[in-house]
Symmetry: D4
Subunit: 221 residues, 8 copies
């Protein structure tokens, strides 16, 4: 597996990452990691690699856009000195365009999104010495590509892909993952609002990230 | 307007009607009518026709399918001796097929739905002496007719239309109403789960019903 | 209608406006607008004009007199840079004279009220570039003009009328509106204390404001 | 004073009497008497006559009309075997006519009120051996006799007066008492809804009852 | 009566005065005066003298000794500019000697008590222009003068009497009042801990203060 | 020590025994024994005799008089088939005479108390095969024997002593124990109401019972 | 995989299975499956086999011994007509021997345990037509085989193994699984009490069961 | 006994000492001492030596390691000017090594532990004038010395013993005490997590400390 003893992996983002994690930094005992995919990642890491001590940290904050995350990037990532960083941001950048269309400054347009995320990437690269960066696409659990919000989200996903390639990051394509799932089940089975996954969705997301980590589910120890 | 002094209008259905109304019968003081379209109907009736005493009753129950509503139809409608009845049922009949697909008996298939609703209509016609029956279509705030749940819901809506015509009911086509709205705004602006409207949606639904009632918003009194 | 795409309309006042809105500024998702007439105004605007994006903002604060509102007028109105402003203040200026008569400084006498409201109007006119100002009269849901509190309130209402005419504002006469209603129903049907309307009263107030806006309830879209 | 050692005095009625008393019978330790005039009566009795043991019992139930009270009269009065009974009922008989005018059976019309109260009186006289009966008028803290609810309440007050005279009861005229008070202060100072007194009103009511009891506030002991 | 229109009477002290009043200053609407004797004083003043506007203010703080009260005397009394002041302090000065005997600095010995109370009196006399000062004795609802706490409390009561005479104050002897009561009933009937009165005790205390005010319970208005 | 492996000791009584224990039978895990002397007895038994399994059961019920306890004696004692029984009852028999003197049937007079307790003793002797019975005196933490409630309580204590001697029971004289304590500290240090001990008092009571059991605090194991 | 479309798998047992599941039968929407290994099993099944509809049912009840489970076996298993049954019982049978040693009837001895579990197996075999039975061993997360509770638990585990072999069941050896884990991490990392796993432990248990099901974590769909 | 009139004894440490005590300093009325061994120490002191006033103070803070306690040592000990100090620290220093092994800085290694505790001792000796210092060993209620956490804890216990001898402190060996207990009962009977004692364990710890104090349980007074 790509993670090594005592590696610290910081996951940051919005409510999908947050999922009720401890503030300002979620890690350690009890429910500190929240109830989402970060929780399930540590579950699987410990269940399959109990001999490996890995420090999982969650700094997601509910409601964040890329603009909000960039503002708190020192606290969310830089000052924690991680070995790995995973960013999943952009859903609120899009969502606010559709649920409160009359308040345009609550949303973030694609060009600002690109600038915000790229600045995060450059700050990590310039100020930290990390082993790898996961860039997770925002997503909308909507199979219809003509849906306004899905169509808009696809613009942001495309930006993630460009940035991942340009900066040589590990791209985690949550949108593609959900698309496969939605061929078999309706989104109502994993999320009431097509955004916040229930725990089945959280496991799917955890697995999608671990798929990029040479993770072995059937490892003997 | 079609309603006359002291008419009693009973609205029944599932959580969309219920919206937190008093149990077993919601009417009278305080929050007894709940927080949904029934509340907004009384608001508009009293605001525009304060000189007319109309008794609005809500017997919606959250989670009900047409099978559940039929079982409690004595308490929900018959024993209340209404002058008008409004039924809005079917969303859960469909939803359970998609959110818990492994538990088939929690859902209701189209043929049973038709039978259930028709039995309700016949019971009203046979056992009561009402001035009119509103049959409201179930709906899914999804503009894409190929969405599995929307497509399935359309089958139930079609059944409502047939039954309304066959039995000479007042058809309230909530699906068509939301369809018009969705041409301008995304469903995220009125419902997180494309089913339960926020208060803007509740007013839209109230207006849709009153549109069939010769209701005058600008009436002088 | 008088409102145009992306207009921001700020409603401010006391508990009748507040109605549990988000602090310090109520707008956007969930229950941010509170549970009163501002909520119902947005409901009707969105239900009838979904194609028009209008930003509704609520800065009412429970218990405010005109003196309190003037003190926080930067935060309540000026800094928000609205296109339209609606002010409904004065009820507590009067009420405190009757419910705690031994604490005179908790109330505001008519001359100070006139000065306070006029200063608000002038600040809007001088510091902002608005399209219109709604001045809503305070009211007491009491048909008897000899009632002490109603009689006193009428002095404040008269001041509003003078100021509206002098400064060319849109006068919303809530007192006259409730007076018409009270010809048909007792105040007990819409407010326990003759001040705080239930949701039927909230719709009445919303309609009264929209009556000055070329609002079309039956508009096709 | 008219009460003697170990006399039991049962007060019954609606929410004004109830005021949060213990159910089904309020008496004894802690807050069992509620927070209204019955509480203040015991306060004054014990403060001025500590040498006299008097058993004060409260069986008021919030929301009761005379019809409701008559139905539970065995539990509320007869089975308690009191030496004195005080009845204060009728406010809800009237109120329901104005706050939910479309639900007529929730109110009680004057003729039924007369019948209900007279049956209570006769049951006490026939089935118990009491030393005296207090009949307290319902009231509305509204000085304007043309107010619809006040005018209607006056019909019920008049019935109380007739019945008190006919059956030789102690009439406690709460309406007259509040009328005197309202010459000096607005109702807003003692009740938000002109019905439920705050604690100042509760003391006024207690004093009004004790005025018929040869009660001495300045008694030395 | 000794109080005149718009007089402000400030009551201060410990938990017996506090009784849950609003902080930092209890007065005005709702439960701001707490649930003790100050509440009952306003009740009786308004019930008997509704034509007289009197401002009742409560600044008691639970747990205060005379040392604590002296420290906050600016906020508790001086800055409020009262016309009358009533002080009831000393119970905790004594109580702490008996319930936590191992923490001597939590109590206040008699000589410090005398100094503290006299400084309060002098501050009122020097810095305010009051019409009168009520000095209420601390008390212990214990008839046995040999009880350690009662015996100690009597020392503090004696100091109050000396100070009242020396400075020409209105002495309210709560200890003597309770002593009379305890000839007829056990302390268990008004206070579980022989200190905090239930509402019957609160009325007794209110009456004891009003006895020094030419208060007329049977006044016609 | 007098208790042997697997002995079951049932403690019953009023709130002093109850102290929040599990209902209907307090024993086993967590807080099932409540927070009073029964809890402290098990604490000391386990701390000093961990090698001995003793089953401690608490069936005290708050507010019980001897009359109440006798009525539920099957559930409280007989059906539990104990090896030892400890009864501590009588405080409420007396207290109700003083805190609610106007409701005489809520108290129990001495002759009935004697009869009730003796019937409990005889039922144990006749229906069970116990190794011993502890009869604990009721008490009032009041050193002054002329205090009305203490004087009355002494009558009940005397009855306990007679019955203990007559039936050869183990008498636990809580009144004498508290009397010794009150020579050194005021009752305010262990109970606000002179009845319900804080946890220091609970340990004193536990020790008093264990003093009759050949209990060795310094035992080596 | 061994499970086929629409198979119903019922998991029953004690608090480890229960984990806060819905009562009386946990399945379907929201948190109905609780927060333990059953939840994680459905998570993994849906994440890897979304094309397969499997009905997962949880009837665990906190605190159950094998005796308790046998008593409710109709409701817990038989009446649900499952295709597969998984039983995990026995921990409380052992635990009660150590945490409340003085109450022997709260525990279940090995011979009764064998009898209880075998009766469950036979009932399933005789009354249902299942495709397979999982028998999960009880466990104690304690690596030291000389620990009293571990040693005792091993007797129960041995019985499970015998019964699984005799009746040809799928044996899930949780004790062996935890033993492997405890070679690398201390039990404090997954359970405070060595019994109730945190969510990492829940995933380990889910994986252990799925290991017997030809489950493919990396399956493409 | 070694404690003299008015001695102040400060107990500090982690959650075992804290047990819900008042912050920042636990002493005096009500539940200020928490629910653990400090509470039981005062209970026994007052029950056996009521004639002796001893001030018991608790400054334990849940979750503290020796590093945390050293940081707050001014507030926890020095500024309180105690006559005796009791320190029980180290459990979290060890525990964090096992429950969150991937976050090494949350734990404290032996050499730092030695340094931290010795600095506490020296500060007491240099800055205060105490009569004695109790150094209580950390412990783990685990009889198996090969258990990782027990083995590690033994290193810290050994350090305590060295420091106690070197600095002439009163060593309280909780580990040895629990070891004796665990010969007779399983740890499950006093602590679910082998660290936090229930109230039986709290009494055992209190007794262990008092064993070093010439405490006489059977003293007559």
């Amino acid at each position: 597996m790509i993670f090594k003893e005592f590696d610290r992996i910081v996951f940051t983002g919005d409510s999908v990452t947050d999922a009720g994690c401890q503030k300002p930094v979620g890690e350690g005992l009890f429910d500190s990691l929240g109830n989402g995919y970060v929780r399930e990642i540590e579950n699987l890491l410990v269940a399959c690699y109990p001999d490996l001590k890995l420090r999982i940290t969650n700094t997601g904050v509910s409601g964040n856009t890329s603009r909000d995350l960039l503002k708190r990037f020192d606290d969310a990532v830089i000052n924690l000195n991680p070995d790995w960083v995973s960013i999943c941001i952009g859903i609120n950048d899009v969502w606010r365009q559709f649920d409160v269309p009359a308040i345009p400054e609550s949303a973030v347009q694609p060009e600002e999104y690109r600038k915000n995320v790229e600045e995060m990437i450059l700050r990590i690269k310039n100020e930290l010495n990390v082993k790898g960066i996961f860039l997770c696409t925002p997503y909308y659990m909507e199979p219809n590509k003509d849906d306004w919000m899905r169509a808009k989200m696809d613009e942001y996903t495309a930006i993630c892909k460009e940035l991942a390639e340009k900066h040589n990051l590990i791209l985690v394509d949550f949108q593609a993952m959900y698309e496969k799932y939605l061929k078999y089940r309706h989104s109502a089975s994993i999320a009431w609002d097509r955004v916040h996954p229930n725990r089945m969705g959280a496991v799917m997301m955890a697995k999608e990230i671990l798929n990029h980590c040479d993770f072995d589910y059937n490892r003997e120890f």
